[in-house]
């Protein structure tokens, strides 16, 4: 499977993720955090803080960022970049809403 292939699969209804919250998705060995912001944008990041592997899906979601519950690193949901003085990056994944359903492109995860 090459990088251009897309493989969108349904995860859940948008409403199954709380606003300013997240759900953890298990994709085989990978854990992915799916976030829903206050303005109903969704983002998918690897559920693993670049600092000490904290589960980002358990953090507080504010504007376009999540704060890791372990040591308060702030990660941009859009870019996966650590904010402020910290440096690091988390893998992001393509995600979209189709007819109220959240879908993720698993091609990238499997690739």
């Amino acid at each position: 499977m090459n990088a251009q292939t897309q493989n969108w699969v349904d995860l859940c209804e948008l409403t199954a993720i709380p606003q300013r919250g997240a759900r953890c998705v298990e994709a085989g060995e990978n854990k992915i955090a799916v976030f829903r912001t206050a303005d109903d944008n969704i983002f998918a990041l690897e559920d693993k803080c670049p600092h000490k592997d904290g589960p980002l899906s358990q953090g507080i979601v504010h504007d376009g960022c999540v704060t890791c519950p372990l040591h308060n690193w702030v990660i941009s949901l859009e870019t996966g970049q650590a904010q402020g003085a910290d440096e690091g990056e988390v893998q992001t994944y393509p995600i979209r809403i189709e007819n109220g359903n959240v879908q993720i492109d698993i091609a990238k995860i499997m690739g």
Partner: protein, 815 residues
């Protein structure tokens, strides 16, 4: 036939509009004015000089009776319009006059806002709006005494100065930390406060009025939230204005905060215009004169079918108090994309600050010397590029053309490679460069980005000096720390304003207190959620998404992302049945570690998130509830065995501990709250390093508070001794509630108590039965909503899905 124009209201805005109209076309309209006041048009801006006695009413008349005659205007005085009939195109006044119109202008102005304090309807409570108010103030001031002015904005301060000049003693009460905070930055606000104090006027900032006191229907004084009482003969409320739009609303014109007008100043009815303080244009309501005049000019043109539009105004303010020169214009809030130029001359009492964006002036605050105000304001409005004269801009118009100064000439002699922080090997150049590149303004940020002073801290002074050099006057080391980057307000300000403004949800707080981010951050959201839970237990709906993960899932997150679970063991007492149930849960869920905690209970560590509800369900069946070991709230009450077993025990310390825990469990506090009850002074429950502790003695119960045995080690302070268990419970609960109401989020009780003073705590809890009872009652009320076991709530299904991960079936198949 000449068209008929009817104007409702005879203030400055319609006055200016008519002047413009008559200038352009004296005979276009037959004009009728209805005025609720019994007067001709006068200059309201000049009320302050009338109050201070520097001018008389006659001096400030804009249009005398002859002006109306000359222009053929019919003026109905004391004729308040009560009805507009848009179909028939007529207006009718309270005293029965009806007039028909082709075009109507509504200029009903604004009403002063009266704070609905108890006693606000007493004789002697005044506003400061029109000549009637001024005449009443002058009448009272003739006999001396004290006046209290509520509101340290423009009007309030002018009223205060006027009353002082009329010979009264004056106190100004202002809710915010600095005066005129809407027009002035804190530095200028401070200078202003000092100037007022020098005039002999008492200024109390952060003053929360609670109740106006009176006798026989007359004002005698005022009581503040903190209990201070000030005697007063009159109380002047100058806390703001509300657009007056009841009339417009009654005839179904569109209103919002004010009467809504479009850019041509028409209301939702094309034949009806509106202007002045009663309108809302592009979401803005104005209370200053310049925009009102601009609106008047636009309407005059539109009445003559010349198409004109009003695009909103930038405003400038000048305080009209003799001896105090103050000018402010535009927007002077700090922001990343702005720069500022500041001039301070402390000895001469001069402070000037210009805010620049893209080389254009967008805001100006001048204090002490304001002659360049209009020049700056002019450039502000014209968006003049000031880069050419930037170096000398702050010195004013007269200075332009002189040789530019070198503001960096005094930069300290240290070379860039001089080491400032020995621990982390950071040199001066690196700090300067980082401050400039990242736009850092406070020590915490500099520490985060450079690591300078982030270890032992002995170089903090040096780092601050480098910051002062780099940042110039914009560096204020004494600034009260803001709650977080989302606001400039401190925790104290936010707590106070939540109560004072009655803010009851996080979005409301963020809106009203002008949060800079759209939905806060991980620092402010949990704090706000706590403040709202504590302040409005009945009304506020807890926002789980603003709680830290531990409080959201009622368990403690561990370094590997698993959780630990601690059930309550009341007073540290357990039984074989409970222990068996715990053992069964440990086996069933294969829990790797079981540990006895310092708070006398059992911790099960390494539980997967998806197992949490099942674990709680089993524990719940055995009678356990959540131990809230994760909460910024009541944790444990540690006890010794007391008179039940101990040969030294003086009281039933176990029983008291259990009683306190059962009474207080579920309550949220600013930071965690751990208690201890020891049955004798041997203190086996280690009560003297707890947040709140009890040492039982023969004669009763010695209550302690403010101990610490964590980051800091500190023995407790003695609150006092009480005779009975009932009293011990009441005093402890009252103390906890006082802390709940006053503590800052994450501030442990020992830090809070040190901040407000141990004696203050003793005075309120031990010596003031009324206060104590109040705290106790509020705690009890709050518990009605707080004592819900979160475990059983989640087990019974609340948001249960959040504990289950979503699994992607395709992925499993693929592997």
């Amino acid at each position: 036939m000449t068209k008929k124009l009817v104007v409702i209201g005879n203030g400055m805005a319609p006055g200016r509009m008519l002047e413009d109209l008559f200038d352009k076309s004296p005979d276009a309209y037959d004009v009728t004015i209805f005025n609720a006041e019994p007067r001709v048009n006068y200059n309201r801006l000049m009320l302050s000089p009338v109050l201070s006695g520097e001018k008389t009413y006659e001096d400030i008349i804009t249009h005398g009776d002859d002006w109306y005659e000359t222009h053929g205007v019919t003026l109905h005085k004391s004729a308040k319009i009560t009805e507009i009939n848009r179909e028939a195109k007529t207006v009718t006044s309270e005293n029965g006059i009806t007039a028909s119109y082709d075009k109507l202008v509504i200029a009903t102005g604004s009403n002063p806002f009266i704070i609905p304090l108890p006693g606000h309807d007493l004789d002697g409570v005044l506003t400061y709006r029109d000549l009637d108010d001024v005449e009443r103030m002058i009448a009272v001031s003739n006999t001396g005494g004290r006046a209290v002015v509520i509101g340290g904005g423009l009007l309030g301060l002018e009223a205060a100065a006027g009353l002082k000049m009329q010979g009264m003693d004056v106190t100004v009460l202002h809710l915010m930390p600095t005066l005129m905070e809407r027009q002035l930055d804190p530095a200028a606000g401070y200078l202003l406060e000092k100037a007022f104090t020098d005039l002999g006027i008492d200024v109390l900032t952060e003053a929360n009025s609670k109740e106006i006191l009176g006798q026989d229907g007359k004002v005698t004084g005022i009581r503040l939230e903190d209990g201070t009482e000030i005697e007063a003969k009159i109380i002047v409320m100058a806390v703001g204005i509300r657009p007056s739009f009841d009339l417009a609303k009654s005839c179904e014109l569109e209103v919002n905060r004010g009467i809504v007008v479009s850019d041509d100043m028409r209301t939702s009815d094309p034949d009806i215009f509106s202007l002045g303080e009663c309108v809302e244009h592009r979401g803005m309501c104005y209370g200053l004169v310049a925009p009102l005049y601009e609106m008047g000019t636009v309407i005059a043109k539109n009445l003559l079918d010349e198409e004109a539009i009003y695009e909103g105004s930038v405003t400038a303010t000048k305080l009209k108090v003799t001896g105090i020169d103050l000018y402010s214009a535009g927007d002077f809030a700090d922001a990343d994309d702005r720069e500022e130029i500041v001039l301070r001359d402390a000895a001469n009492g001069i402070y000037k600050r210009l805010v620049l964006k893209d080389n254009k002036i967008i805001g100006a605050v001048l204090y002490g010397e304001t002659s360049d105000g209009p020049w700056f304001f002019d450039m502000l409005k014209k968006e003049t590029d000031v880069s050419e004269m930037r170096d000398t801009l702050i010195f004013g118009q007269a200075f332009q053309g002189g040789a530019p100064l070198d503001p960096m000439a005094a930069v300290a002699a240290l070379p860039d490679d001089a080491e400032i922080c020995g621990c982390n090997g950071v040199c001066k150049g690196k700090i300067v460069e980082t401050i400039t590149a990242q736009g850092l303004t406070n020590l915490d940020d500099v520490r985060a980005h450079t690591k300078a002073s982030a270890s032992c801290g002995t170089c903090t002074g040096l780092v601050e000096q480098v910051m002062a050099l780099t940042l110039g006057d914009s560096y204020n080391p004494d600034a009260v720390a803001a709650m977080c980057g989302c606001t400039d307000l401190s925790h104290g300000d936010v707590r106070r304003l939540i109560k004072a403004k009655g803010l009851k949800s996080i979005p409301e707080v963020m809106q009203e207190l002008e949060w800079k981010t759209s939905c806060g951050c991980a620092k402010c959201r949990p704090a706000l959620n706590y403040y709202l839970v504590a302040d409005w237990p009945e009304e506020y709906a807890d926002d789980y998404q603003s709680r830290f993960i531990n409080e959201r899932v009622h368990a403690n997150i561990q370094k590997d992302g698993t959780y630990s679970v601690v059930p309550r063991m009341w007073g540290g007492v357990t039984s074989s049945k409970e222990l068996r149930a715990i053992a069964d849960v440990v086996d069933k869920f294969d829990i790797p570690t079981v540990k006895v905690t310092g708070g006398q209970r059992i911790d099960m560590l390494g539980i997967k998130k998806e197992d949490l509800t099942a674990v709680w369900s089993d524990l719940g069946e055995a009678g356990f509830v959540s131990g809230q070991a994760y909460a910024k709230g009541l944790r444990t009450v540690k006890t010794c065995v007391g008179t039940d077993w101990c040969r030294f025990g003086t009281q039933d310390s176990t029983g008291l501990g259990i009683r306190i825990e059962k009474f207080m469990w579920g309550s949220w506090t600013p930071a965690k709250l751990k208690l201890g009850v020891s049955g004798c002074p041997r203190n086996c429950a280690e009560a003297t390093c707890k947040d709140i502790g009890v040492i039982c003695v023969d004669s009763g119960f010695e209550i302690h508070f403010a101990g610490a045995a964590g980051l800091d080690i500190k023995g407790t302070e003695v609150l006092g001794t009480v005779a009975t268990e009932d009293e011990a419970l009441e005093y402890i609960v009252a103390l906890a509630q006082m802390y709940r109401e006053q503590g800052y989020y994450l501030e442990r009780i020992y830090k809070w108590a040190k901040r407000i003073g141990y004696d203050e705590v003793r005075a309120q809890i031990m010596d003031d039965p009324e206060k104590r009872k109040g705290y106790y009652d509020r705690f009890v009320h709050s518990q009605k909503f707080a004592q819900v076991d979160p475990w059983s709530e989640r087990v019974s299904g609340k948001d249960k899905h959040e504990f289950q991960p979503i699994k992607i079936a395709q992925m499993e198949a693929a592997e």
